[in-house]
Assembly symmetry: C2
C-alpha cells in the first residue's frame, strides 16, 4: 500500500509503506497526566540542564574550535558531537510541541555554531579530519563519524517536520553531510561501515524527508555490508557490532544492545522502503526471540556490563542488569517501526513497558539527574555521585547529572519531546490508539471530514480510559484501542451503552461516530504477582509485582528494619494489596544467620523455618526509585 | 614462637613465626594418584608447551632485545616479563622435585637471557626504561614493573630453596632488582606502589631467603601505602586495586580478585614477620567474609567479567562466573599463609576445594590447553579456540592453548610443580597432614629422630586414607589429619585397632609411634546434594552435587536429549547414586514450551506439571568438563 501525503506529519518515522500511518505532534496533543508531567519537566528542567553540561564540558565549543582552526583544546569523546545533535533533535520536537521562543533562539544559536564547523565538501565532525587530527574515516570501528552524522540527520528530520519553512539551515547542513557520506561510502567508495549503527535509520528517514532515493540506497548498502567481519575482531567478539552475521541471517538481537536496536531499526526502514519481506521477516524474528528470552521484565535490554550487551538467552541477572537507558530508547524506536509495518499489538506492548519502566526510570523527578544503566536490584547503599563532574556511566548507585559518556540524557530528552508521535496511528479503516495519554487526537483523512477524539484517563494509576468523539462523520470508521497482554483477564470495553470483555490485542468499535459518543476501555490495574520463566536462572523462586504497565519495586527507605532487602521473603498466598494508593505485599524476614561457608548439605533452614512476624512491605513504581537518597532496591522478590 | 632452621626447606613460604612450619619438596614426595598424575602431565607436556608459546610470542626474546639495545620489535603486553619468571619458578620447583637435566639446562638458558637484560643498577624490565620506551616507573598504575619483579623474586626463592648452591645467578639477579626497588621506592624514594600487588609477598619471601630485613621493610611500606587513593580513579573504582581502603581497615576481599588475593597474602607475610596481630586479624576477617559471601562452590573467586573482580556479597552468578584460574592460585597462596599462621583447618579446606575445582579445572587432560576463566554454567556450544593464535582470555568456550594475557598457564604450572609443599606441616607437637596424596612424608625434628610416614589413598575417588608410620620413636608425638568440613557426618579414624567418629577440623592421635603403626582416616565420599545459602540469588532453587572435595557437573555430552541442560529439573527426593564409579541424579526434562513474553501471571506451568519420564543423568568431576569437544555444562541444577 502506497500512501499519498499532503503535508509533513511531525513524527520521527514516516514510512511510505506499511500497515499503519503515524500521527504527529500536531495531531496528538498530550494535555495532562503522567506523560504531560514528564514532558513538562523535560522542557522546564532537562533541556536547560543538558545545555549547561554541553557547554560546560566543551562539547559545543568543539564546533567553534573547528571554525577557528585550532583543535588542540578539543574536549570529549569521539562521539560527543552526537550529543549536540540529539539535543538539537530534542529542541526541535519541543519547539514543534510548544513553539517556545526561547528554545527556538537557543536552537538557532547552536545550529549556527554547527554550520561554521562544516567543511566545504559537507564533512562534519570535530574529532577527525582537521589539522592535527587523525584523517577522516581513519577509524570506522570506534570513530563514530557516521554515527554522529546519523544523529545530525535525525535532528534535521525533526526540524523539517516541525518547522518545514524555517530558515535556520539545519536541513541544508544535514543534506551536505549526507551527500558527503554517499560520495565517500557509495558503491564505488570506501567499502566500510560504522562501528555504531545509527546512520542507517537516519539516512532512510532523511530520504523520506527529502525525497532523495540516494540516501535510502546508501542506508541499504550499510545494512548489507554489516555481518561480514569488516570491522575486525574485538575482545568481546564481532557480535558486539552485529558484524558476525548478516542482518538477513541473524536470528536474535545480540551484542551491544544500543547498536543492536539501532541497526535493526534501520533494517526495518530499509525493508519497508524497498518492500523487502525477507529482510522484514528476519528482523521481526530477531525481535521476537530477543523479547521472549533476552529482555528484562521492565523492557530493559542488555544484561552485561562488560560490553553493554545482550547476554545469551535467559541470562538476565537483576543485580548486574545493565539495561541501558539508550537501549530502551532504541528498543522503542525498533518496536515502533515494526508496529507501523505490521500493526501487531505486541510491539506497542513492549513500547509501553519500556517507556514506563526504562525511559521513565532514567530521569530523576527533577529532570536533572539520570540513570545510564537501570539495575533491577541494588544490594548496598552507594555513594551519591559527585554533582560537580561527569560520572562514570554505569557505576552510579544513584542518578548522576552527567556522564563521561553522556548519551542517555539527550536520548531521553528527544524521546520525551516527541512522545506524542508514538500514541496513535491511522489506516484506511480508522484510528488506532496505542498508548493512553490524556489529550486530544485529530486527524483529517484525505477523503473525509476530520476525526477528533479526546482521551481522558488517570492511567496508569487507574485503568479507566475514556475516549470521547468530538467530531461528526457520515460514514463509519473503526476506533481501535490496544488491550495490553498483561490485561488478559478482566479488560472490558463499553460502547453504545454496552460493556463487553475484550482480549489482548486491539479492541475495535466500528460506527458512524457522532460528537459526544464515548468509548470506555477498562483495564484491570490491580497489583499482581508476575512469575518468571523457569529458565531465567537469576530470578528463579522470585516474583515481581506489577500494576498495569508498571513494574513495582521495594525500596529500602519504605521498609521497616533497614536496608537489607535480600532477607525478605514474600508470601504469595495472598495477592498484593492496594489501599490508599499504596501497594503492599506480605513478607517475612529471614532470621539473622551467618556461617563460614554458604553451601550446605541441607536446604537453607532459615528460609524454611522463618518465624518472624509478617510484615506489610510497600512497593513503589520502579521508575520512582532512588529519588529519596541512598537506598537498596529489589524488583524480584524471593518467595517464602 | 621463633624457629631455628638448619637448612632451607624447599617450599615457597617459610615464615619465621607462626603456628605451623611447612614441609618442603624434599620432605613430601607425591608418588601416585590424582596429583602425581597432574604433576606428571605438567612436567611432560605443560612446561614444554609454555616454553613453546613464550618463544613463539616473543616474550623471552624481549630480553634479548634489551641486551641488543633495540626494542622496536618488542612484543607482548606490559606484564609479559612476569610469564618468563613464573615459568622459571615452575622449572625451579620441577627441577627440585625431579632433578630433570633437560629442564635444568632450559632453566639456565633462560636465566642467561634474563641476566643480559638487567640494567647496571639492577632495574629489570623489557617494557620501560630503555631507548625509545617510556621511562621507568612512569606508569605505576598499569605498568606492572613492580609486579614483574615480584614474580622474579618468587622464581629466585624457588631456586634458592631447591638448588641453594647453584651458580646460575638467578638469586643475584633478583637481589639486584630488589635492591633497585628498595632504592627507588624506599622511605625517601617515590611515594608510590604498583597497580597490581605481587611485590609485597615476594619481597617478604626474598627477605626470608636472604635474611636481609630491608626487603621486609619495603614490603611493609608497599602494604601500608595502599588504600589511600595514590593510584587514582579508574572506571571500575579504586576497589579494583584495593586502593580505596587501607588493608588494616578493609573488611572483605574486593576488587580485582587476583590483586586482592596477592595483596592479602603479602599483608599476612608482613604481619607474620613483624608480629602484627592487628594486621593479621584484619586479613583473616577479610578472608572469612569473602569465603562466606563471595566465593563460588568450587572455591572460585571473582564474579565479574568487566573488571575480573569480586562482586558484592552474594553476587555469584554461575553463568557469568569469572573465577579466574589465577585468582584460584592466589586464593591458595593466601589461605596457605593464613593456615601456617593460625593452624585453622578452614584454610586447608578452601585450599583443597580450590585445588580440585579451580586449579585442576584450568588445564586440559593433555596439559596443553587452559581455561583462563572457569564458568560454572555453559549455556550454548561455543566455537573451539584457534590453536594457532592466542585467545582472548575469558571468551573461550573451551580451553585455549594460549592467551593474549596468558597469566594462567604459568601460574598453574608453578603451583602444580610445588604442590608437595602444601601437603603437610610440623609443629612442636608433631606432624599435620592437610592434603591427602599418595606419597611419603619425612621430617627430622631438631631434637629427635626423623619421622617418616607413607600415605596411601585413592582419594578423592575413595575416602580411605591410610597413614603408615615408617619410623620408630622413643617419645610420643601427635599425628594430625584434617577432616574437611564437608565430611561433617560419617568420618572415622582408626588407630590402634579402634575406630572412632571424628569431627571436622584436625583429628589427632598422639602416640609413641613405631614403624608399621597405621592410622586410617575414612572420609564419607558418597555423592551428596549441596544447597546454596538463600541469599545467593543466582542459584536459588538449585542444588549442586559434590563428592568428597569434588564439585560435580552435568555435561551435555553425557545427557540423552542433547545440549539443552537448562530444561533439566532434579528430583532431590532421593540422593545422588554412585554405581560403577559413575554418579547420577534423577531428573525430569521440562516439556518444550515457548511464549512471546517470559513473565507471566502464574508460576511456570511446565516445571510444575512435568510429566516426562525420569532420566538418570550422569555427572562428572567439574574439573574434567570440556575435555570431549564442544558442550554445555551446569554445576547448579534446578530442582523439580
Amino acid at each position: 500500500m502506497t500512501m499519498v501525503r499532503s503535508a509533513p506529519t511531525a513524527a520521527p518515522v514516516l514510512p511510505t509503506r506499511g500497515r499503519l500511518r503515524p500521527l504527529g505532534l500536531e495531531e496528538v496533543r498530550v494535555t495532562g497526566g503522567f506523560w504531560a508531567e514528564r514532558q513538562s519537566v523535560n522542557a522546564a528542567a532537562s533541556l536547560e540542564h543538558i545545555a549547561h553540561w554541553l557547554e560546560r564540558e566543551g562539547w559545543i565549543r568543539n564546533f567553534d574550535l573547528v571554525a577557528e582552526g585550532d583543535l588542540a583544546e578539543r574536549r570529549g569523546r569521539e562521539f560527543s558531537d552526537s550529543e549536540i545533535y540529539k539535543f538539537l533533535e530534542a529542541l526541535a520536537w519541543e519547539i514543534g510541541r510548544t513553539g517556545d521562543a526561547g528554545l527556538e533562539s537557543r536552537f538557532r544559536a547552536i545550529v549556527d555554531r554547527v554550520a561554521r564547523a562544516q567543511d566545504a565538501d559537507g564533512y562534519l565532525n570535530t574529532k577527525f579530519g582537521h589539522a592535527g587530527q587523525e584523517p577522516r574515516w581513519s577509524d570506522l570501528v570506534w570513530g563514530h563519524e557516521l554515527y554522529c552524522v546519523g544523529h545530525l540527520l535525525q535532528a534535521a528530520v525533526a526540524r523539517a517536520r516541525t518547522r518545514p519553512d524555517a530558515d535556520d539551515g539545519l536541513v541544508a547542513i544535514a543534506r551536505r553531510a549526507a551527500d558527503n557520506i554517499c560520495a565517500a561510502f557509495g558503491p564505488d567508495g570506501i567499502d566500510g561501515l560504522c562501528g555504531h549503527p545509527c546512520i542507517e535509520t537516519a539516512l532512510v528517514e532523511f530520504g523520506r524527508v527529502t525525497g532523495d532515493d540516494r540516501y535510502l540506497a546508501q542506508a541499504a548498502l550499510f545494512v548489507e555490508r554489516r555481518g561480514h567481519g569488516r570491522l575486525g575482531d574485538v575482545e568481546w567478539g564481532r557480535e558486539y557490532f552485529q558484524d558476525e552475521s548478516p542482518v538477513r541471517q541473524a536470528t536474535v538481537l545480540r551484542g551491544h544492545a544500543v547498536r543492536a536496536n539501532y541497526l535493526a531499526a534501520g533494517a526495518v526502514d530499509v525493508a519497508a522502503e524497498t518492500d523487502d519481506p525477507v529482510l522484514m521477516k528476519a528482523v521481526r524474528a530477531q525481535w521476537r526471540n530477543a523479547v521472549a528470552r533476552r529482555t528484562y521484565v521492565t523492557g530493559g535490554q542488555g544484561s552485561r556490563h562488560q560490553d553493554e550487551a545482550f547476554g545469551a538467552d535467559w541470562v538476565l541477572p537483576p543485580d548486574r542488569a545493565y539495561s541501558e537507558t539508550c537501549a530502551g530508547v532504541g528498543s522503542v524506536m525498533l518496536a515502533w517501526r515494526l508496529l507501523l509495518a505490521s500493526g501487531d499489538a505486541g510491539y506497542a506492548d513492549l513500547i509501553e513497558r519500556t517507556l514506563y519502566n526504562v525511559v521513565s526510570t532514567s530521569p530523576a523527578t527533577d529532570g536533572r539527574r539520570f540513570f545510564y544503566a537501570n539495575t533491577l536490584h541494588r544490594r548496598v547503599l552507594g555513594a551519591s555521585p559527585d554533582v560537580e563532574r561527569p560520572s562514570i556511566r554505569a557505576s552510579a548507585a544513584q542518578r548522576a547529572p552527567w556522564f563521561e559518556v553522556s548519551c542517555c540524557p539527550t536520548n531521553v530528552a528527544r524521546t520525551l519531546a516527541s512522545l506524542a508521535a508514538y500514541v496513535a496511528t491511522t489506516d484506511d479503516e480508522g484510528l488506532q490508539i496505542h498508548q493512553y495519554v490524556t489529550g486530544t487526537i485529530a486527524h483529517g483523512p484525505a477523503d473525509g471530514p476530520e476525526r477528533r477524539v479526546t482521551v481522558t484517563t488517570a492511567y496508569p494509576d487507574a485503568g479507566e480510559i475514556r475516549v470521547r468523539i468530538d467530531s461528526d462523520d457520515d460514514r463509519p470508521w473503526t476506533l481501535s484501542v490496544r488491550v495490553p497482554a498483561w490485561a488478559g483477564q478482566g479488560a472490558t470495553l463499553t460502547a453504545g451503552g454496552e460493556t463487553r470483555p475484550v482480549a489482548p490485542g486491539y479492541a475495535t468499535e466500528r460506527r458512524t461516530w457522532r460528537g459526544g459518543d464515548e468509548v470506555v476501555l477498562n483495564l484491570p490495574v490491580a497489583p499482581r504477582f508476575t512469575y518468571p520463566d523457569g529458565r531465567i536462572d537469576a530470578v528463579r523462586g522470585c516474583v515481581a509485582v506489577e500494576r498495569g504497565p508498571l513494574v513495582l519495586a521495594v525500596e529500602s527507605v519504605d521498609v521497616p528494619g533497614g536496608e537489607d532487602l535480600d532477607e525478605l521473603r514474600v508470601d504469595t498466598s495472598q495477592p498484593p494489596t492496594l489501599a490508599d494508593g499504596r501497594v503492599t505485599v506480605r513478607c517475612r524476614r529471614l532470621e539473622p544467620h551467618d556461617h563460614d561457608w554458604p553451601y550446605n548439605g541441607s536446604e537453607a533452614a532459615p528460609a524454611a523455618t522463618a518465624t518472624a512476624d509478617l510484615l506489610e512491605v510497600p512497593l513503589i513504581a520502579y521508575h520512582d526509585w532512588a529519588n529519596r537518597g541512598p537506598s537498596t532496591m529489589r524488583v524480584w522478590l524471593p518467595t517464602i
